[in-house]
Amino acid sequence: MKTKLKMFYQHYVRFPSYILFHPFDGYEEFKRYNQGKFRVAIVFILIYAYFQIFSYQNLGFLINNNNPLMLNSLQEIFSVFLLVFLFTVGNWSVTTLMEGKGSYREIFMVTGYSLFPLLFIGFPAVVLSNFLTLEEMALYQLSMFIAYFCAAWMLFMGILNIHQYGLFKTILAFIATFVSMSVMMFVGLLFFDLIQQIISFISSIYEEINLRY
């Protein structure tokens, strides 16, 4: 039991924070010595989806502008999954063309791991926001800024390391990833729109025939 707990601590807290502060060494171990675990990434993504719901509901009254009656858990979860899916697929398709060394599995794991600071700082910050006045809210804003900054940092360094890119190539890869994400969004919307039109076309034909005979 004790070793299990220790392993849990090692995988879920120690190693991600090691990556955060030693990105090159950390991602070296992550990639070469298989220290990065797929299940950890999945758990982080799941917790992040929960965090979105948690912060929607439990953010302090003073900065919470969400209507509690409008909370849609499924929508929150889906939007997190969609974002992760779009990013990983976009990045994989771009980096494959740009001779990146990382596999889809690794891109996915980097994405999951980079959510670590958001969870580690985000949950306490949301709880803290309940005990702050309007003037002190800057503290919450600052901690959330740090969290997002660290997450971006981990993601950037992760992509840089697993594909074994230089700095500029990584930036280029990110820009290309965002372009490919928007292309995917566009194609998706187009697809759904056309499907909708086909469905309405078929249903109107059915209606016509039904009325006639």
């Binding site: 009254f61 003073l62 009656l69 409008m70 005990f131 006045t133 309007l134 003037e135």
Partner: protein, 500 residues
């Protein structure tokens, strides 16, 4: 028999219950039920006045009289406080001093042509005589003191000048609405003028445009316009600034103005223009004052779409003002902070409703609505609820929070959906240092600023009372932790002084 009677009663009562129920907007923008703030009291139509009206355009209240102009009959009507006709004038004699000053011997009295605006002050009656392209100033004996028909500005043609070469872009001065301040300075809204409200001095010389809304282009628009050719730019839709629909001056010389909603000012159709020409209206309510908050966009044949079309504004005591939405025949009343107090009015042909409101005016505490289509003045009177709301705001403005809170409590009893009343009660509790209760009330009223203040006091009081326990427990916990660490280090045979 009994069933039939019940059915009969139900049939008789149902239409009464089906009258549109009052509503308001919650913090989240939902339409919620509310008690009506004003309700129909009486009406005055042409038959009662003993005149024939064609198309009444504007109405203004001066002391105990109501002045009204009609663009169909080209006449000025004066109605007294018992809603009896006092005067109906179609022609006006010139004063001798005006004839002397202008050095003319005109004997024919002056007549109006489609007047559409009127304002009355102590120094006289001002009529926007649209069809004759001029403003007519009368004294209180209905004699012409002055006529203003020439605006010395590049926008306008001189009177009787035709648009020839070199001034094709110029337009005639067609005043629509007028309001006059205590120094007889006229603020005029003219047709097809987008520069703002014209400010004309007492002697008729043009001073400036006031309340001008600069157009803001987004960086993307600036970029895309810089790439376009002249021809493309010409094909673009013109970006016109606010087009004002009405203006009304209050006793502090601030101009309440309504304007048409366009894309670039969708959220500020109501302005309060200070003497410097700056919009100073407060938008501290849940939504900026703009009439209806929720509306359907996109054309359809079932409901009226689009934002409210505000055509007139009237202010009363304590900075409370009402705007008239012509599109849906509704009256929105706001307080000086921009809180939406109550929504009244109803579209219809019955005497208690109006279908094409053109002007409103406060007559003592009553609100007069002029309906162009039915040619009627409908008088709305405050309900008990509305009177309480106004009273509470009055006390609040005077700084009498205790009295205000007492009235707000009555308001909440009548309408527990009324969120701003909770803030009024909360403010008193905050002053009485009942911070926890105050927090609850501010939470109900969604006032984050005052909630924060109450919470700060509440939290600091708790911290102060329990300082010993909190500090002690922090010291205890950290001390235990360090102690255990030292103990385990020694047990392992290590040293705390040197790192091995």
């Amino acid at each position: 028999m009994r069933q039939k009677l019940t059915l009969l009663i139900v049939l008789m009562i149902t239409p009464l219950l089906m009258a549109a129920s009052s509503y308001n907007y919650s913090y989240w923008g939902e339409v919620i039920h509310s008690a009506p703030g004003m309700t129909f009291a009486t009406y005055v139509d042409a038959e009662q006045l003993g005149v024939s009206l064609a198309s009444p355009e504007d109405l203004v209240v001066y002391q105990d009289d109501i002045f009204m102009v009609d663009s169909g009959t080209h006449m000025l009507y004066v109605i007294d406080e018992t809603f009896q006709l006092k005067d109906a004038k179609s022609s006006f004699n010139f004063t001798q001093s005006y004839l002397d000053a202008e050095d003319i011997n005109q004997i024919n009295p002056l007549t109006l042509n489609t007047p559409s605006g009127v304002d009355v002050t102590d120094s006289g009656i001002f009529i926007a005589d649209t069809g004759n392209y001029r403003i007519v100033k009368l004294n209180h004996d209905f004699e012409v003191i002055d006529i203003f028909d020439y605006i010395e500005d590049d926008t306008f043609l001189a009177p009787r000048e035709s648009a020839t070469e070199g001034n094709e872009d110029k337009i005639y001065f067609e005043p629509k609405k007028i309001t006059v301040d205590v120094t007889d300075r006229m603020y005029v809204i003219a047709k097809n003028v987008y520069e703002g409200i014209l400010e004309i001095n007492y002697d008729g010389s043009f001073n400036r445009y006031t309340g001008v809304n600069p157009i803001k282009l987004t960086p993307f628009e600036i970029f895309s316009r810089s790439l376009m050719t002249e021809e493309q730019l010409a094909q673009l839709q013109l970006f016109l600034p606010t087009e004002y629909t009405n203006a009304s001056i209050d006793d502090r010389n601030f101009i309440y103005a309504t304007s048409k909603v366009s894309e670039n000012n969708a959220e500020n159709p109501i302005q309060l223009i200070n003497p410097k020409g700056v919009d100073v209206i407060k938008r501290n309510g849940y939504f900026p004052p703009m009439g209806d908050v929720q509306y359907i966009e996109g054309s359809n044949s079932y409901v009226i779409e689009g934002p409210s079309t505000l055509v007139d504004i009237a202010s009363t005591k304590d900075g409370i003002y009402t705007v008239l939405d012509q599109k849906r025949s509704r009256l929105f009343t706001y307080d000086s902070e921009g809180n939406l107090l109550y929504i009244d009015g109803d579209e219809g042909k019955q005497v208690d409703k109006f279908s094409e409101g053109v002007a409103i005016g406060y007559f003592k505490d009553d609100l007069l609505v002029l309906d162009r289509k039915t040619k009627t003045i409908i008088v709305y009177r405050l309900t008990e609820f509305g009177a309480y709301v106004n009273e509470a705001i009055h006390y609040h403005n005077e700084g009498m929070f205790e009295e205000a809170a007492q009235v707000w409590k009555k308001v909440v009893k009548m309408n527990s959906n009324y969120e701003i009343a909770y803030n009024g009660i909360g403010k008193l509790l905050l002053r009485q240092e009942k911070f926890k209760e105050a927090m609850e009330y501010f939470k109900l009223g969604h006032d984050q600023y005052y909630y924060s203040k109450a919470y700060k006091e509440y939290r600091n009081a708790i911290l102060k009372d329990n300082f010993g326990i909190i500090m002690g427990s922090i010291v205890f916990v950290s001390g235990t932790f360090i102690g255990l660490k030292i103990r385990s280090t020694y047990k392992k045979g290590g040293s705390i002084l040197y790192e091995d």
